[in-house]
Subunit: 311 residues, 2 copies
């Protein structure tokens, strides 16, 4: 039996192998994804994001357990920032330590970022396809930090859960302001902190700036480490799912997700091509450092080598 | 007189106009950059990065003042994260409030990220070229947060100053581990915090994992808000500059910086082309949502439309 057939039959070992294949972009990964594609489209993708230190891992763990109690098959992809130099994963063992690993109804995968812009997001999208075909009803994506590429990842989720934390510095508040708009559901974690109520009120106020919500993001409190507030959060996620179905927004989000995958696919291949070309211009670039050429002239030359004339 | 001529003669208004032109990529911006290129290459670029809330702005402000006392002409580019939805700058006024604005020997510019991956970095590189041609001897780049694209920016600096802060959560520590390797000079800001010494020791220990340093990054302490520890930091920056000159690494870093600009130039044009093509595939992408097509087949089709056959 082929690998893709074993995946859609719910073979866990095949699923793990398939994800490795697409993550590493090994021989045959595109064929695999093409074969899986007709068996995808039913999973609900939940993206968890928020500032570093907000306790996202613990929260994802508890939400997964709650979904398991409702007998849902769950997949988890944790984005694990990779050191840009050693290319090794930074968090690594965190995932492997979860007791969810013992539950056959949960598939957990940690994915490295490989230092390449966009590479994380591409691998994550492919991973979602595999887990979807494998039969996961909910796929939880957890990102560390607040970078643009991570925003891109959660931005393709059906529901974006914004995990906030009481009382951080000014920069964090600024970043919050930037990511507020992609949140569908908010949760203030570490609610036993003195400033949690204040943080919640601030979020509510920011949300109330927009008077034209079709679905006004609910804000709840949680202490993930104690398992408190998880059911309210899961209810809020379900409410947002209901809204997406009723309003036709679900179709829109999925269109967006497919479109991004097309773009990523083309752009990564183009980048490889450009890198190959650039190698041939080493002398020119060296001259450019001392004003003897410039990056724009060199760039124009490479562009016209790659692109068809009629473009 | 043409704009580029006024820039190289040190006309501040022309410099501001030139940066706007290249940042917005308005008509003629490439010609402008080509004309400025022979007048670049002498500025020293300092990149300041580190976790959100570390007090990078204040530190950059104080380092700029110290360089002014040494009679150096200084440029500052603060990367200002743009809300991905409203497209407005988040920090905005922070820069305009600095009293450095009154000093004609300092040129301060805040740059938005425009929500586009790589766009920040491209605009920053072009801004550096303008400030270099304008005569800035030191150009200080400040980034907010720790995203990949920000790592890309500081990674092209001559000296990367890693600003640390005592006692943050585990995720932050993990991110620290990821960015440790791009730091040339470390500073623990907010050194009046109880945990500052501990943080410093942790950093020293992490650095000592590598036994083969050609230039072992110095670690100092600062309370930027009080102006404490600034001279030691500036000395450390100078030491790193000396090392770069002596070892020939300066030339390597500048080659890398030029190369990245070539790549960015080609890739952004290719992205525009891809986006145009994708518009034509809306029906196919819609079918893909329900398994009737797939992003990989669509991607292959777009790729072969764009790229010359001989590639």
């Amino acid at each position: 039996m082929e690998l893709w057939e074993r995946v859609i039959q719910g073979d866990e070992v095949a699923c793990a192998r398939a994800i490795s294949l697409v993550e590493d972009e090994r021989e045959g990964y595109i064929e695999l994804l093409k074969n899986l594609q007709p068996h995808t489209g039913s999973a609900v993708v939940l993206g968890f994001t928020g500032p570093p230190g907000a306790g996202k891992s613990t929260l994802v763990d508890k939400v997964a357990k709650s979904l398991r109690k409702k007998d849902k098959k769950v997949g988890i992809i944790a984005i694990d920032p990779t050191s840009p130099f050693t290319r090794g994963a930074i968090l690594g063992d965190r995932i492997r330590m979860s007791d969810l690993n013992l539950d056959p109804g949960v598939f957990i995968r940690s994915m490295g970022t490989r230092g390449s812009l966009g590479g994380i997001s591409k691998a994550t999208q492919a991973g979602i396809k595999v887990l979807d075909a494998y039969g996961c009803e909910y796929i939880l994506i957890e990102t560390v930090g607040v970078g643009q590429s991570e925003i891109d990842i959660v931005n393709t989720a059906d529901t974006v859960v914004m995990v906030m934390v009481p009382g951080l510095g000014d920069d964090i508040q600024a970043i919050k302001a930037g990511i507020m708009e992609i949140g569908d559901v908010f949760v203030v974690n570490k609610a036993d902190n003195d400033r949690a109520r204040k943080t919640r009120i601030e979020i509510e106020m920011m949300l109330d700036f927009n008077k034209n919500w079709e679905f006004r993001p609910p804000v709840s409190m949680a202490i993930a480490s104690e398992g408190e507030g998880i059911e309210e959060l899961v209810d809020n996620i379900f409410k947002h799912q209901d809204y997406l179905e009723r309003s036709g927004k679900k179709e829109q989000r999925r269109f967006h997700r497919e479109r991004i995958q097309v773009e990523q696919y083309v752009m990564t291949d183009l980048r490889d091509l450009v890198d190959e070309e650039i190698e041939k211009y080493e002398e020119k670039i060296r001259a450019s450092v001392h004003g003897g050429s410039d990056p724009y002239t060199i760039g124009e030359s490479i562009y016209s080598t790659i692109v068809r004339d009629e473009q």
